[in-house]
């Protein structure tokens, strides 16, 4: 990478239907985080208190797939406001483990959990308008918006994320290569 320029790239991140493990892997770049901060600033992210993604973001990083209407809304906001959008990790790329619910009807699951499970004092399906509507199936994010890069792995390692970001910051086409490209 070149020496840090005047303008830092603005990076927004979010976790949709994911486990936060990809964000943890991002932090697994360890002390290289401080180097990265010479080149980027964080916009909306679980690490900051910025709640809306700013209209001039350079890079959006999406962890997790889509399991409810709010996930879809947030994803569209990211696409609208980020020049480059990246799907990071198994759930964003193909739905991941949460998509294992896709062979079950949602109504059956809700019924089973909130009415018939043992140890319940009362039976009731949460239905408040504040709760976003669940989707019938969990979807990978490229089914809804255009994705520029896919970073596989559950999660991709800190080294893979570092290689990807430093390639991008240096103006190279990102390439993980052998050892960093994996799906587990």
């Amino acid at each position: 990478m070149d020496a840090p320029g005047k303008k830092k790239l603005k990076v927004a991140t979010t976790s949709l239907a994911g486990c936060f493990g990809c964000h943890m892997s991002f932090l697994d770049i360890d002390e290289r985080l401080f180097t990265l901060l010479d080149y980027i600033e964080f916009d909306r992210s679980p690490l900051t208190d910025i709640k809306e993604v700013s209209p001039d973001c350079d890079l959006g990083i999406i962890e997790g797939g889509l399991c409810n209407a709010e996930n879809v809304h947030v994803l569209r906001e990211f696409r609208k406001n980020c020049k480059v959008l990246v799907a990071i990790g198994a759930c964003a790329v193909n739905g991941g483990l949460p998509a294992q619910r896709n062979h079950l009807p949602l109504s059956t699951i809700l019924e089973e959990v909130y009415h018939t499970s043992p140890g319940l004092a009362n039976g009731l399906i949460p239905n408040d308008p504040e709760l976003p509507l669940p989707l019938n199936k969990v979807h990978p994010i490229h089914e809804v918006v255009k994705i520029d890069y896919f970073l596989p792995g559950c999660p991709p390692s800190g080294d893979a994320i570092w290689k990807f970001l430093t390639d991008l910051l240096a103006g190279r086409e990102p390439e993980l290569g052998h050892g960093l490209m994996h799906y587990d």
Binding site: S15, A17, G18, C19, F20, G21, C22, H23, M24, S25, L27, D28, D30, E31, F34, L37, E41, S45, P46, L47, T48, D49, I50, K51, C67, E70, N71, G96, L97, P98, R101, H103, L104, I109, E111, E112, V113, Y114, H115, T116, S117, P118, G119, L120, A121, N122, G123, L124, I125, P126, N127, D128, E130, L131, P132, P134, C154, P155, G158, D184
Partner: protein, 487 residues
């Protein structure tokens, strides 16, 4: 025990303010506040807005997949789920007692996780509030701001977390979502080279952990008016405690106390957890509300996690952390401390204990052993419980004769704190927002109260798909005649 701001009488006449998403916490949650024309608070709720369905879709899978699958509930504390599921499957495969190598390797993995998770929460997520103030500049109120203003503190936070992650990598194979623990034991011992690599760094890790305790202790006692009362509510508390009442994150029996510290139960075998805990559903959250059966849902809810554990145990079995525990107990003045912000102080005491326990384990040659797995008489029902970074975590499975999971029930740490977190935010809303113009800084006060509990909202969104309670009447050929289900 409760502030009654859960449900407004006439919500349709009120103005809604939302904190969405709650940030600098793990997972997806939002807070809604209903205010009248004079900005008086009528309703405050922390909603868990997502669910995923793990308990349902692992039904039908072979049992040995479960420890690897269920850790995908949470990327911050995957080891907790990995190990709680493994412990339940130990019961299933009849592994009543693991080999010393297996048990110590699992402990090492777990204490590594406790260290990294507590460091992440304190330094990366919460230190901006504690160092800069709850209503400080929103653009600097994050780890980047801490790195600029307190570079050494930020660096230590990153390196403490890194060390914990390396302990996990060496014991589980990967930093996030490893595979080291299997039903009946582990699949890999530590090599001499791996042990020596970890030993090389352990002494600064212990020293920095002690410094972290002293940092938060100082912040706390310098402002008792804030730290001893912010978001305060009284409640019962619960955790597992180990042998002789030791603080033990990996194994023990259940102990609960009331708000005065008096024992409610003690020495309870967690295989019987469902006789002691019941759950309530509320329409406005996907997260259930657990409570102690013997007391009932009105007053039987409780808190879990560092503040509960450090006050529930009789002692901490490592010297530096035990010294800090006594300091804390002295400060509390002989009665239980209920202030949510005291979670931070006790969390750092636990991080110190984890660092010391890792050191002791690394000096134990059992870690290098070759005897990794045991099995015994198969059973069909198993419960695994562990103290995860955020509190007591329950995994319960049934497995049939074809090795297939037929039932799963999980009560995750954050769910145990559901009512407690709601009480804390209601207290803060009443104290700080009531009758005032709502500002970003005031809203952050609400989030500060939530963050104190270190909620793992991803873990909390698993809640789906337990075994239905069903009675089936079948005829002599096995055909279904009639089916009843509780609903």
């Amino acid at each position: 025990m409760t502030y009654n701001l859960e449900t407004a009488a006439h919500p349709e006449k009120l103005r809604r303010v939302a904190i969405d998403p709650v940030s600098r916490v793990e997972g997806h949650g939002k807070v809604t506040i209903l205010l009248d024309d004079q900005n008086k608070v009528h309703q405050v709720r922390l909603h868990i807005v997502e669910f995923r369905g793990f308990e349902k879709f692992i039904q039908g899978r072979p049992y040995w997949e479960v420890p690897v699958m269920v850790q995908r509930l949470c990327g911050i504390c995957p080891v907790s789920h990995h190990l709680a599921a493994s412990k339940a499957m130990d019961v299933i495969v009849g592994a009543r007692k693991l080999t010393p190598t297996a048990e110590k390797l699992r402990r090492l993995m777990h204490y590594g996780q406790m260290l990294q998770s507590h460091a992440l929460h304190f330094f990366h997520l919460c230190s901006p509030d504690l160092l800069f103030g709850f209503d400080s500049d929103v653009t600097k109120r994050n780890i980047v701001g801490v790195a600029a203003a307190h570079p050494e503190t930020a660096k230590r936070g990153v390196l403490l977390r890194k060390f914990g992650q390396e302990v996990i990598r060496h014991t589980a194979g990967k930093r996030v979502h490893g595979t080291g623990s299997v039903p009946g034991g582990v699949n890999k011992a530590l090599t001499v080279a791996e042990r020596d690599e970890l030993l090389k760094d352990i002494y600064p890790i212990i020293a920095w952990s002690r410094d972290a305790v002293h940092l938060i202790q100082k912040v706390h006692i310098q402002d008792p008016g804030l730290y001893n009362s912010f978001g305060i509510f009284r409640s019962n508390f619960m955790s597992i405690v180990g042998h002789n009442g030791d603080l033990d994150f990996y194994h023990g029996s259940l102990r609960a106390r009331d708000d005065n510290g008096k024992l409610i139960f003690d020495g309870v075998d967690y295989q019987d957890y469902d006789r002691y805990i019941e759950e309530e559903v509320k329409p406005w959250s996907y997260m259930k509300f657990p409570f102690l059966r013997s007391i009932g849902k009105e007053n039987g809810w409780y808190k879990v996690g560092p503040l509960a554990r450090v006050q529930n145990c009789d002692q901490i079995p490592t010297p530096f952390a035990e010294h800090e525990r006594k300091e804390f107990v002295d400060y509390a003045g002989g009665t239980p401390m209920h202030a949510p912000l005291a979670y931070h102080w006790t969390r750092m005491i636990e991080m110190l204990h984890a660092a010391e326990a890792i050191k002791e384990l690394l000096h134990d040659d059992d870690l290098l052993g070759a005897d990794l797995v045991v099995q015994g008489e198969r059973r069909t029902d198993g419960v695994g419980v562990i103290e995860a970074p955020r509190g007591t975590l329950f995994h319960h499975y049934r497995v049939d004769e074809n090795d297939v999971v037929t039932m799963a029930n999980l009560i995750v740490s954050t769910t145990n704190n559901n009512q407690a977190m709601n009480e804390a935010v209601r207290h803060v809303a009443r104290r700080y927002l009531h009758g005032r113009e709502v500002t970003e800084g005031l809203l952050n006060h609400i989030e500060v109260a939530i963050r104190a509990f270190d909620p793992c909202l991803s873990c909390a969104t698993h809640a789906l798909g337990k075994m239905p309670l069903e009675v089936e009447l079948v005829d002599a050929e096995g055909a279904l005649v009639h089916r009843l289900s509780r609903s």
